[in-house]
Point group: C2
Chain length 321, copies 2
């Protein structure tokens, strides 16, 4: 695996994360739909992470980070900033370990997700909806409480944990030709790249990114991070900017970004809701939208897709549908 020389994380960290999570996270089912297969002209294998604990893959990374803490460090608790799923996941993981959790939440976050964070017993800290305000809020809480910062997508233990979803999928479906995952900050993508490497799989990796938050596509085109972005997308889980470590891992893996318009994502979302009967959130539908918009890349192939989460406000369902 020469292409992994100099990689910032050893792919085997994903195997270690899987061992750590074995009694904590669900092994989520893999779903299929003959209707969607016919529509895509490919065999689609959906990894149902909306059925993960906390309703999103984020529990994998958060839980791996929390349970990797030493017994000496853990009592200090953890802190993060999150508009939703990572915050709820970290709060759930912290509750399971019995340690404090603080979440800095930007104004405008989806109500169902904020409620989920509170329900898990985390302390909420509100901030302005900018990355600078989120980082500053996090730093303040860290300084005041001594809590350990668990960044939503650049923390190495988070990346390793997120990779366990692809690890399970590729272990159950080793014949996959391609894997498509949503791209926001890049934690799931980088973790998936590590999982592919750990398994010595030849599966190609694609990153589905909303065109209204396409800093990832621009970074790949320019060969450097392009973090200057004002996200404008219905995919509330994918508004983060690509992390440096994630970009490095994904570039070395030769992952490809496929940008998708919100209209295509919403079309795909309706398919998942009405045909698969799975109440996923908009971010989850980017992967199907990418496959349907690039049928030539996947024609006749066996394609894995990660449905990343299912935490959607019911009030938005009629509006989006």
């Amino acid at each position: 695996m020469a292409r992994y020389s100099g990689i910032p994380l050893d792919p085997d960290v994903v195997l270690a994360a899987a061992a750590r999570l074995s009694s904590l996270a669900h092994v989520t089912p893999i779903l299929a739909s003959s209707t969607l297969d016919a529509e895509a002209g490919a065999r689609l294998h959906f990894k149902a992470e909306h059925l993960q604990r906390g309703g999103a893959f984020k529990f994998r990374g958060a839980c791996n980070a929390v349970f990797a803490l030493s017994d000496a460090d853990a009592p200090r608790g953890v802190v993060t900033h999150s508009s939703g799923n990572h915050g709820a996941a970290l709060a759930l993981a912290a509750r399971l370990r019995g340690i404090p959790c603080h979440v800095v939440v930007p104004d405008g976050a989806v109500a169902a997700k904020v409620e989920a964070i509170a329900r898990q017993g985390a302390v909420l800290h509100r901030c302005a909806p900018t990355m600078a305000a989120r980082e500053a809020g996090c730093a303040t809480v860290q300084a005041q409480t001594g809590a350990i910062v668990v960044h939503p997508y650049t923390h190495p233990d988070v990346i390793a944990g997120q990779g366990t979803a692809a690890l399970e999928l590729l272990t159950a479906r080793p014949e996959l030709d391609a894997l498509v995952v949503p791209l926001g900050g890049g934690g799931l993508g980088a973790g998936s790249a590590l999982a592919i490497a750990a398994l010595r799989s030849r599966c190609r990796l694609y990153l589905a990114e909303p065109s209204g938050a396409a800093d990832g596509a621009r970074a790949f085109a320019a060969g450097r991070l392009e973090p200057d972005m004002v996200p404008d997308t219905v995919c509330d889980g994918l508004r983060g900017t690509l992390g440096a470590i994630n970009f490095e891992i994904l570039r070395q893996h030769q992952a490809q970004v496929l940008t998708v318009d919100d209209a295509d994502t919403l079309h795909a979302l309706r398919w998942v809701w009405t045909r698969m009967k799975q109440l996923v959130e908009p971010s989850s539908a980017t992967v199907l939208a990418a496959v349907l918009a690039h049928r030539e890349l996947f024609a006749g192939q066996r394609v894995g897709l990660i449905l990343s989460g299912g935490n959607v406000d019911l009030a938005s369902v009629a509006r989006l549908g």
Copy 2:
């Protein structure tokens, strides 16, 4: 099984139906939720019939009836009246066998369900939303075309087919103490009673019926059918009146009716949507509503529940949620 003397259908018809459906219907998954288990104080095993072909358990009965037709009879086609899932199921089954299908649809049926009927290639015939108009429309088509009437819930092959859902559930979970299924016309209930008998199971059978369409509860109380009903319930799949053959089978089985208010059903529906992430239709949620409204009947027990279907208008999700 003395209590089955004089039963109008031999329980083994369910086993024959299972054999006939083995290459045609899905063996649907059985879902669980620790959150809902905690809420109910019982271990709940949800049979996911919303993931059946056509999006509802109705495909089992319709397909069994269509494929039980002789090669001589089949070319005449089939006809039924249906406000939704049975019509779409019969249309799909007829398409699979390559024979004509006519569906008499009452005005006011759920748009998503009518579209599904048309999508399967059936000929639609509109009628007034009364049982008399539905029966008359069916008779007219039958006289004009020679098609064979497949009643939505009193046809013996339909009842036998519906029983295969409970058969699969009890085969996979033989330890169940109780099974709860929705009650409309009684096809699913009667089929489930036959499945329990065929397996010599001691599982108790409960029928969850909307209080706004409680002709079943009244029939059990009075000891005779009480078909004079104007249904008023959000559960569009459960507005039919209990069939005579179904009533007889259910009485002999000593099934119990649990009526549930729409408010409780909608509360349960939100749980299934937001916690299980399963986009089921309101009728499906009656079973969870019944368990939550009668915790004393199920405390600490292993309870099977049939999620009957998932064909819901997205526009109604926000309204119902």
